[in-house]
Amino acid sequence: MSEKVHERALQLIAQARVEGMPESESAWLRTHLETCDFCTEHALQTDRALRALRTASIPLPDGLASRTQFRVRLRAQELREREPQRRALWLACGLSWIFGIVSAPYVWRLFAWFGERTGVPKLVWELGFGLWWTIPAVFFLIVVLMEKLRQSDEPSRIRQSR
């Protein structure tokens, strides 16, 4: 029997266990295994290994579930307490945005008046108006970044010393 035949058989043995194989291949493999001790032994070893993996047990630490449930409840309580603050923050964000839009024409006039009174070039007070407009956006960005930072902080809670 050629090397290639064994190679194909070994490949099919693995394939059958990993992702399954078509019936035609399965029939070929069965016929081959009937006559090849080496490949039969390989298939048996693979099955033994998988059986051992499936039956391998790992002891659970005592009280792991109850300790975790306790921590999760504490965290849930923390989140619930923080919820009104977060809501207020988002509300403030939204309101500042609405206020910005509604007051824009008046602020524009105010900047124009101030520019005329002080003799500041038009481009400068227009830039000033543009910057004033970015304030709610900057505030919003800060809130989002703070949220992201808080969320990405979790892995650092895991004991770093280990």
């Binding site: 990993v18 290994a49 391998a56 002891p59 449930q69 849930a76 989140l79």
Partner: protein
């Protein structure tokens, strides 16, 4: 699976404490076993176990119930482990997940008996079981997901965030490593 997953998704949206208690009980063994296999360390697995459930509470609204809950759960656990490794070792995600690299997803020293190896050896005197601890974590992980958790290859690709071909190649190599380890050969 559909109704169960949908009802879990609804409960997680509401951060239902009863549901979380039930899920922790229900999945405690499977999640802990998975974490043991990928971290190779009991204390660390315990830490990650708790952090995973905290993350489930915080990010529960992201679970849509379209996939198996356990696949989503394992993906969260895995990301936590990788994030931790990344901050600890300042390695890139690719280095941690690519089996061709020197130390893929491997916290324990391969040359010494790992804590996992010791735990398995304590649990049973059979050398077949202890030999599982000798397999590199990256292969143990796929073997556990496929043959213990019985996830589909597509689901595994989701958990591991890698292409199907990578999952398959890790499974083939892992299977060979497992067979080799059982024979007392070199598992690599």
């Amino acid at each position: 699976m559909g109704d169960e997953a949908k009802s879990i998704a609804r409960g997680l949206q509401k951060r239902d404490p009863e549901l979380l208690d039930r899920l922790i009980e229900q999945y405690q063994y499977r999640l802990f076993r998975y974490l043991m296999y990928i971290t190779g360390n009991k204390e660390r697995a315990e830490d990650f176990f708790q952090e995973t459930w905290i993350r489930v509470l915080e990010r529960g609204h992201q679970y849509d119930g379209k996939s198996k809950f356990e696949a989503w759960l394992f993906a969260i656990a895995r990301h936590l482990v990788i994030d931790w490794q990344r901050t600890k070792k300042a390695q890139s995600l690719d280095t941690l997940t690519d089996p061709e690299q020197d130390h893929p997803l491997q916290l324990a020293n391969e040359k010494e008996p790992s804590p996992l190896h010791q735990v398995l050896a304590q649990e049973s005197e059979e050398t077949v079981q202890a030999s599982l601890g000798k397999i590199p974590a990256i292969y143990r992980e796929v073997l556990v997901l496929r043959f213990q958790e019985e996830l589909q290859i597509e689901e595994m690709a989701g958990v591991l965030s890698v292409p199907l071909s990578t999952v398959k190649s890790r499974l083939y190599r892992g299977l060979e490593a497992l067979r080799g380890a059982m024979q007392g050969g070199v598992a690599s």
